[in-house]
């Protein structure tokens, strides 16, 4: 098992994701440089957070044209496992692997803090080790995390059970008051229809070590690793 972490120019959570995978989860990790065309045999790919290409023009809009993204898109379309975190989520939306877009936060300010998310499905590749209704305490740090899609898309997301994380309070109640950034339906994370691509604004890699105040991110990575290993067996 090996997980690749893509390094775009301006990625700044690449080292954090690498550290969490390698040192907190004990799984092989490898950096994949944006100029390359080789996924180096990785079993899953993380598009990390940061400000790829400075987020100039629009978050993720330039990164999707990187050489490595051609391979990542192909990998995802053939069933490969991909997680986009924060800026990675924005890149997945820009590249069409996930529907919708991430707009500026409702209050037009960057938000960095611990929040809570509720697990909406415990039966996906990314949540297999969690249960529906579980609440994770996990940080967000973004200026553009306000999930938006047209009505038909939102309806499809709901019908297909593609919404897997929503912003909630510590007890798991989801309401407008627990929505930090204005996301429609309090969406914090979604998967594609096939279920092999996850995009999420919160940072699970920052919640994998008890010294940092939370290990609630571990379950997400652990689920993915278990799912991949089961396939391999």
């Amino acid at each position: 098992m090996k997980i690749g972490v893509v390094v775009f120019p301006g990625s700044n959570c690449d080292h954090d994701a690498y550290w969490a995978i390698k040192h907190n989860l004990g799984i092989n990790a490898e950096f994949l440089f944006h100029k390359e065309h080789d996924l180096k045999g990785c079993d899953a790919i993380i598009l990390p957070g940061g400000f790829s290409y400075g987020d100039y023009l629009r978050s993720g809009a330039i990164a999707r044209f990187s050489p490595i993204m051609k391979e990542v898109i192909e990998f995802a379309n053939s069933g490969g496992l991909v997680i986009g975190i924060c800026n990675g989520f924005q890149i997945l939306c820009e590249s069409g692997l996930l529907p919708g877009a991430l707009l500026r936060n409702r209050d037009l300010r960057f938000i960095s803090k611990f929040i809570h998310i509720r697990i909406e499905r415990g039966d996906t590749i990314f949540t297999g080790e969690l249960n529906r209704g579980d609440v994770l305490r996990i940080p967000i740090a973004h200026g553009e995390g306000n999930y938006h899609a047209d009505k038909a898309t939102l309806q499809r997301l709901e019908e297909n059970d593609q919404i897997i994380f929503t912003y909630c309070d510590p007890k798991g109640n989801v309401s407008e008051d627990t929505n930090p950034n204005g996301s429609q339906l309090n969406i914090a994370g979604i998967v594609n229809e096939a279920g092999n691509v996850l995009g999420m604004m919160p940072h699970p890699e920052r919640a994998c070590d008890s010294v940092l105040g939370s290990t609630d991110g571990v379950g997400i990575f652990r689920s993915l690793i278990t799912a991949r290993e089961e396939v391999a067996v």
Binding site: P9, N12, F51, L212
Partner: protein
């Protein structure tokens, strides 16, 4: 006028911010009249900002060496402290006050960028930033504009670059209304044997420029904007403010660190104030060489820039690099990887001159030594005079000025004072967790980072300065700034190692300002000697005044502490219901310069609280010993708002904001006892079984110990004076700043 051929006059010199005598010295040093380009280079190098001409004599009185210091203050771009296990920490604080007053967003953003470059030019990866900010009062519309702009500038630059902003201060006081202070501290980590030096090395090496193209932004930033007061012309100075690009800086970081790791770097220095002028001359001085620079080879944003403009440009995100000629191809390959432009612009020489060529002509020929601090740059010891205002402030009786108020009213007003209330509106905009090292940030006395490089160890960092105390008593105020910074670091479980300082004062040509400066520096020096925390460097910002009114003298202290074991990390908030609460230190009753006095009367009067450095040191020893033995659940120092506010903050910052305090406390004058700001005091909480052990440690070090009460499950009571609960306090404390800014959407 062609600046390369124009024969200068005294008038030209004065327009560039130099004095008549300074112009005469330049003519003597050169043995001829400089042309305008040369005079421009002198004007920036001899500016207050670059030469430290009015401060260096005082700074030399500070303790600047210690067993852990790997470089002495002023020797490199930042201080370097040995943390053992093969690693070192680079850290420094710098001001960007004047640019932020004129253009808050870019001014603050480039302040962050500048200090980050100081760190990574030494080979260290930045792992934390802290911001010490001071503004006028929030009821002023321009203050709100400056405040919001500065915070946004810091947020956008730091977040995008990828350095966690983990701490700092925000303080509001009238004197900063026209002249806010924006001091940014950065901390980086590196392998102790992989340090890059800011030297030219030796003759016949290639001089390269790395990073952004040179444009017309920031010309005269150091000489004319930063080195004089604000007046009606200041608005016109906006073009002297640089424009930042954090994405470019991030690429420059990666390229620089990879260059240094490759082993080919002879010397490297970032370009901040005075751009190419400063980096070429300072590196040449250190390497005892000259430099032959062809300005036609400098990548430009605009084609028709003059030599004068190229030399004075303060365009951001640039580095000067010296390498062997044979290593150029390797350097180019590394820069190509990170899409960072690199160009050779010259060669080091053995003649000790900076020689500039432009359009095929030689346009400047200046002896390196004549330009720099420690060489030809002037050094002044200015006239000092005790300020007249002290007669009035020292004669005032703060307790009488406060008059009659119930402790409960005083308490509620203080919780809502912007200087005490939660600054979460600010810090929620800073990514405090990127790089996944942040253990504690804004809700504790010092920010704490674990070190992935040195497993099990951590760093604690804090900035501090109560400028009211410095205003009322510069010597004490300077000492208190260091003492409080050290106390904060100790409260979080760390041993204080070293400081960096950012000395913000008014016009040094005013004898009263210079008196404040000299006294404050003495106070800082004595405190640093007492705590064995040498000064590793920093910066001086004079001329912080407008309409002849100086800001309060504000020597901001950035303290670095080492946490030997991550188990020692101690929060400021209460942890367990039923824990005992006690005070280490005297109860005290000093209200001079207090937040209560200012909140109720808008006056800053009386004397600064007394400080006994020996007592303070014993307090640190007591607390650290108790923490390292695992006896302490929480520790929070008493500062603005005194004992009552310290207790309130330990409740508000308790686990999930659910714990309170029940404190039995009877005294003759509760106002002085509860809200006085006497020094050397810490509120601790601990489980019952540790009480006797802590008492014994306190006794060993002759530190007063007073039991206060118990941690409750939410109710908050101090004697018969204050009775409330944690959620009520939190509501006041957490929303005060948003309410003053007029934001309605206040999410918990």
């Amino acid at each position: 006028m062609n600046p390369d051929t124009h024969t200068t006059t005294v008038e030209d010199a004065k327009n560039l911010g130099l004095t008549e005598q300074e112009y005469e010295s330049i003519c003597e040093l050169l043995d001829r009249v400089p042309n305008y380009t040369e005079l421009g280079v002198y004007s920036v190098m001899w500016s207050e900002h670059c030469s430290y001409k009015n401060s260096i004599a005082q700074l030399k009185t500070l303790p600047r060496s210690g067993s852990r210091l790997l470089v002495e203050a002023g020797e490199e771009n930042a201080g370097l402290v040995d943390i053992e296990d093969g690693y070192a920490v680079a850290f420094k604080i710098e001001s960007h006050n004047h640019p932020s007053a004129v253009e808050p967003y870019q001014g603050a953003a480039t302040g962050v960028g500048g200090i980050l470059r100081d760190i990574f030019t030494m080979g260290a990866r930045p792992i934390a930033a802290l911001d010490s900010l001071r503004f006028g009062r929030l009821d002023n519309q321009r203050t709100r504009f400056l405040f919001e702009g500065v915070v946004k500038g810091i947020s956008n630059y730091g977040n995008s670059f990828g350095v966690p902003t983990v701490g700092g201060e925000v303080f509001f006081e009238d004197c900063y209304c026209d002249n806010p202070l924006v001091n940014v501290m950065a901390v980086g980590i590196l392998k102790a044997d992989q340090t890059a030096s800011a030297t030219s090395g030796a003759p016949k090496k290639a001089v390269m420029i790395l990073g952004a193209r040179t444009g017309r932004d920031g010309i005269h930033g150091a000489s004319l904007l930063a080195s004089r007061e604000f007046d009606e012309k200041t608005e016109d100075m906006r073009p002297t403010v640089q424009v930042g690009d954090p994405f470019y800086e991030k690429m420059l970081l990666e390229a620089s660190l990879e260059l240094i790791a490759s082993g080919i770097v002879i010397g490297m220095q970032d370009m901040g104030a005075a751009g190419i002028s400063c980096s070429t001359s300072e590196m040449s001085q250190k390497g005892r060489t000259g430099m032959n620079i062809n300005l036609d080879l400098v990548p430009l944003r605009e084609a028709d820039m003059s030599a004068y403009e190229i030399m004075l440009s303060e365009s951001q995100e640039r580095m000067l690099l010296v390498i062997e000629e044979q290593d150029i191809a390797q350097a180019e390959a590394i820069c190509e990887k990170w899409d960072v432009p690199i160009a050779r612009i010259g060669t080091t020489t053995d003649n000790g001159f900076i020689q500039l060529h432009h359009n095929g002509e030689r346009v400047a020929n200046i002896p390196v030594e004549s330009l720099v601090l420690g060489g030809g740059a002037p050094v002044y010891i200015r006239e000092q005079q005790e300020p007249v205002y002290l007669n009035e402030t020292l004669a005032a009786n703060p307790r009488e000025l406060i008059g009659s108020i119930t402790p409960s009213d005083a308490f509620n007003q203080l919780l809502e004072s912007p200087n005490i209330a939660s600054k979460r509106w600010v810090y929620d905009q800073y990514d405090s967790m990127v790089r996944s090292n942040t253990v504690q940030s804004f809700d504790s006395d010092a920010a704490v980072l674990r070190l992935k490089e040195v497993p099990g160890k951590g760093l604690a960092v804090a900035t501090d300065c109560n400028s009211r105390y410095v205003y009322l008593n510069p010597y004490r105020g300077g000492a208190i700034a260091v003492a409080e910074a050290a106390r904060n670091v100790v409260c979080s479980g760390a041993t204080p190692l070293a400081i960096t300082n950012c000395l913000n004062f008014g016009n040094p040509y005013n004898p009263e300002v210079y008196w404040q400066f000299a006294k404050a520096v003495r106070g800082i020096g004595d405190a640093c000697r007492s705590f064995d925390t040498p000064v590793t460097g920093g910066n001086v910002s004079f001329h912080n005044e407008s309409q002849e009114k100086a800001v309060y003298p504000t020597p901001t202290i950035g303290m670095l502490g080492l946490i030997e074991d991550l188990n020692h990390i101690t929060p400021a908030g209460f942890q367990n219901k039923g824990d005992l609460i006690a005070l280490l230190g005297e109860v005290g009753n000093e209200l001079g310069g207090s937040e209560l006095l200012s909140t109720l009367t808008e006056k800053v009067a009386g004397d600064a609280p007394a400080i006994d450095l020996e007592v303070e040191k014993r307090l640190h020893l007591t607390l650290l010993t108790a923490i390292q033995n695992g006896y302490i659940s929480s520790a929070h120092d008493c500062s603005e708002g005194g004992l009552a506010i310290a207790l309130a903050e330990s409740s508000i910052n308790s686990k999930e904001q659910t714990l309170g305090a029940d404190v039995g406390f009877e005294t003759e004058d509760p106002i002085s006892a509860l809200f006085g700001e006497s020094q050397s005091r810490v509120v601790i909480s601990f489980s019952l079984e540790n009480e006797e052990k802590i008492k014994a440690i306190a006794q060993t070090h002759s530190v007063p110990y007073s039991p206060l009460g118990l941690v409750t499950d939410g109710d908050f009571r101090i004697g018969s004076y204050i009775s409330t609960n944690v959620s009520e306090m939190a509501e006041r404390y957490n929303t005060a700043i948003e309410r003053r800014l007029g934001f309605k959407n206040v999410m918990a």
